[in-house]
Structures are given as C-alpha cells and as structure tokens.
Symmetry: none
Subunit: 277 residues, 2 copies
C-alpha cells in the first residue's frame, strides 16, 4: 500500500468526504439492522444481527481510517500569495491502510455466514456450505495482503494470483452448490438470492482492480485517490446494501412462512403475495 | 460555499451554539424515535425506524460540522488591551460544508420514504410513489451542489433553476398524487398529512433562500452566519419535528386500526366494549 507524499486540496477533500460517507453509512446501517430485527420471524434474526455486526466492525475501522488519514497530512501553503495549497504527509507511515485488511478478515467470513443463515437451509447443508466458504474467504484475504504491501510487481502478481484461487472456489460454491441447495426456496427468494450473488461478485471485483492499479502502471496521487474511492464505495455496497438485501429476503420469507405474521405486519391480507410468486 | 476569513466573537459563538443545538436535537430524537417504536402497531414501525435513521445520519454530520467549524478558526487578540478579539480562519479549507450535501443526499430520500411508509398504502401505490419521489430528490440535491460551490452568480442561478425542477415535481407528487392515494385514510390522519406536507414545504423553502443569498448581494460574515442558522434550524424542523409528526400519525392510525391495541395503550378505552382486557 503505497502512501502518497503530496495531495492537492481537491484530492485530500475527496478522500476525506468519501471515508466520512462510508462511516455514516456503516454506522446508520448497524443501528437500522438491529432496530428492524423484530420485523422478521425469529428464525431469520441471527442473519440480521450478523449483518449488523459486519456494519459495526466496518464502522469502527472507518472511524480509524478517517482519523488516521486526517492526522497523516498537513495543509501547507494555504493563503500564501502565489502558492498552491497542498497536503503533505507528515509521518512516513501516518495513513494506516492495514485497517482495511483487518476489517475484511473479520467481515468477509461474516458476510458469507449471513448469506447462508438467511436461507434457513437444513442444518447439515448449512454446515457443509459454511465449512467450504469460511476457510476459503480467510485464505483469500491472507494471501492478498503480502501482495498489497509489496512494491515489487512480480511478487504482487504472484500473491494476487494465489489469492484468486480461493476467490474462484467461493464463487463456485455460491453459484453452483448453493443453487442446488436453495432450489426449494420461494420464487421471489430465488430472484433476490441471484441479486445478492451478483452484488457480491460486482463489489468484490472492485478489490482486485484496485489491487492491480500499480501492475498496470497506474500510480501516484490519482491512483491513491481512486483506490480509496473504489474500496470505500465497494465496502458500502458489499456491507450496507448487502445487509439491506438480507433484510429484504428475511422479510419476504417471514411474510411467506406465516400468514399470522403477515397480517400483523401489513394492512393488506397475505393473499397479495400470490401475485408476486 | 464561501468560507469567511474573519468572524467576530459573537458571530463565532452563534454558529457554534446553533450547530451544537442541532446536534443535541438530532441525537435525542434518534433515541426517542427508537424508544417509542413499540408504541405503534408493527405495520408502522419501519416508518419510525427510518425516521430515527434520518436523525442518526444528521447527528453524525452535525458532529463533523461542529468539529470542522471549531478546528477551522482560531481566536486572535483575546485579552490584548485595545484590541477587538476576532476568530480567524486557520486553513483555507478548514470548514467543510460538503457534509451538509452528503447528509441531504442520504436523508432526503429517507424522509420521503418514511412519509409514504407511515400511510401503509397498498404495495403497488407505495412503490409507484417512491419510484417517482426518490430519484427526483437525489436529482434535486445533486443539481444543487455545483451551484453551491461556485462563486459565479450566473452559474449559481442556472444550477439553482435546474435543481428547482425536480423539487417542483416532488411537490406535485406529494400534493396531487399522494392526496388521491391517501383518500381512504381516517379523517384525523388526513389533517396530519396536510400538516406534514406544509412543514416539508416551509422547511425545504429555507434551503433555496440560503442558497440565493449571494445572488441578491447578501454576502460576507453576516450572510455566512445567517446561512448556518437557516440550514441548522431548517434541518431540525425537517428531521426532528417531522419525525415526531410521523410518530403522531403512526400512533393515531395504530389506535384507529386496533381496539385491542388502543385498550392496552390508553387508560381510558375509546369505547366501553374494548375495555375488557
């Protein structure tokens, strides 16, 4: 993770605001998911609480990233006639991006857990899927880290390729094995689950692209700013939007499972669900 | 967003206190709305939780605005005989008002969502209204931003006018289409809904007025202070008071929907028959 020495005012403000936006989104989604837990049947609540924990852990790390970034640069030349204001790195290691890897190591397995938990599959199926997904996700992040911190292109490429193997395995489990296991889900849930998987693929795809920036010769302050934007937006989509979709699936399944619950939650009689199926 | 170089002691304290007041109001209303959620029927609780999220996100941004404002100015000349104390801007970009736009981009769609959610309209109607209101509100805020950051009057006027188009469309949907959809609501709810819409119109009206200050030649430190007061008070009314009105509507509808709930919630039962609990 190359730390840039000099940023323009606009570059500094952009990173500052995007990190603040991610922090706001993560913390608000944490509170929201905890507050709506009683809006689904008890069997789906653990999935929502785990989604809230993912956002909570991310909110904590974004608070650290925000403070670390603010402390790492100092404004130079502001208000001096004929001088362009810049932001200069005060300490060689001031901006700690290691927080991102610690965050992913904790949240990515939990994201996979919530995906399986919300489907309320039979215990044996659930357990078998989790035993494949969670170790693979840990391996994916651990193998990516040496590639992120090295400045050598060759070693970056090797670690990047190694990290891609468990990533592809996760996709195989989610798109092939999970599809078989989730065949008995209501129609609308099948559609939502497909959306969930594509969201996961699209947002996780941002990380290797940002990772590969130096390998394609895209470097310096602009690359740094784009990488921060890419990581932050991908995190918001992969955690907040993902959590909201988990809530939506839990909600659809709850209303589908129990007519009594549906009647209490909605003015419309549960007969309307026939139209959606 | 013009940042003023010098503020008097009174001007500095005024902005400081009004921003602190907004932060106190937003955070207290967040906790209040979450705490009263069980005081309405399940079908209205999502509207209250979303209202709480609006206040939560705003509280976060007021905390950032408060810190940013406090850090941006330094007291000069305090206690020096014959010298008037002033507050001088320390860094050219110290006071970040971008937080306000990030806040509105997140909270205004949620405000419209809670307005529709609390009416418990049929799903198809609700969905159609939200598909009109939410994209329009995003457009309104995004189009306003370039006008806010520019110093040129002409460009300010153009972006302001463009931003007004989706605003008028939102008013049309709320005052015409929503009225038709909400015809079946109980009488008292109709009255409250009217109040809600007028509050929205009155408070949202403050933003374009503050926006237009430089266009009418009202500029400098006084304009800066009045703009901060205007934005902060409008935010408190549009979010805290609005959230409390949403709670009032949800409460009226809950008591109206279920005699059992009404009997449990009130000492005096609405009718003698329902009091046998």
């Amino acid at each position: 993770m190359e730390v840039v020495e000099t940023l323009t005012n606009a570059q500094f403000q952009t990173v500052y605001n995007i990190v603040s936006f991610a922090l706001a989104a993560m913390s608000a989604t944490t509170v929201f998911l905890l507050a709506v837990t009683p809006r689904v049947l008890p069997r789906y609540r653990l999935a929502l609480i785990v989604s809230a924990m993912v956002c909570f852990i991310a909110a904590y790390h974004y608070l650290r990233i925000f403070d670390s970034f603010g402390d790492a640069y100092v404004a130079v030349g502001a208000g001096m006639p004929g001088v362009q204001e810049t932001f200069e790195l005060v300490k060689g290691d001031g901006f700690n991006e290691g927080y991102r890897y610690v965050d992913w190591l904790l949240t990515v397995p939990l994201l996979l857990f919530e995906t399986i938990a919300v489907l309320a599959l039979p215990l044996a199926v659930r357990r078998s899927l989790l035993w494949k997904l969670i170790p693979a996700s840990g391996l994916m992040i651990i193998l990516g880290y040496p590639g992120e911190i090295t400045a050598e292109i060759a070693s970056k490429a090797i670690w990047g390729a190694l990290s891609t193997i468990p990533f592809l395995y996760i996709l195989y489990v989610l798109f092939v094995e999970l599809s078989k296991a989730a065949k008995t889900q209501p129609n609308q849930v099948g559609k939502e689950l497909a959306g969930l998987r594509w969201l996961l693929l699209a947002t996780w795809g941002v990380y290797p692209i940002s990772f590969a920036f130096p390998m394609i010769g895209f470097d310096g302050a602009d690359a740094f700013v784009y990488r921060q934007i890419g990581y932050s937006l991908a995190d918001v989509l992969a955690k907040c939007l993902y959590g909201l979709l988990i809530f939506k699936i839990a909600r659809i399944k709850s209303l589908d499972d129990s007519q009594e619950f549906a009647a209490e939650e909605m003015k419309e009689a549960p007969s309307s669900k026939g139209a959606a199926a």
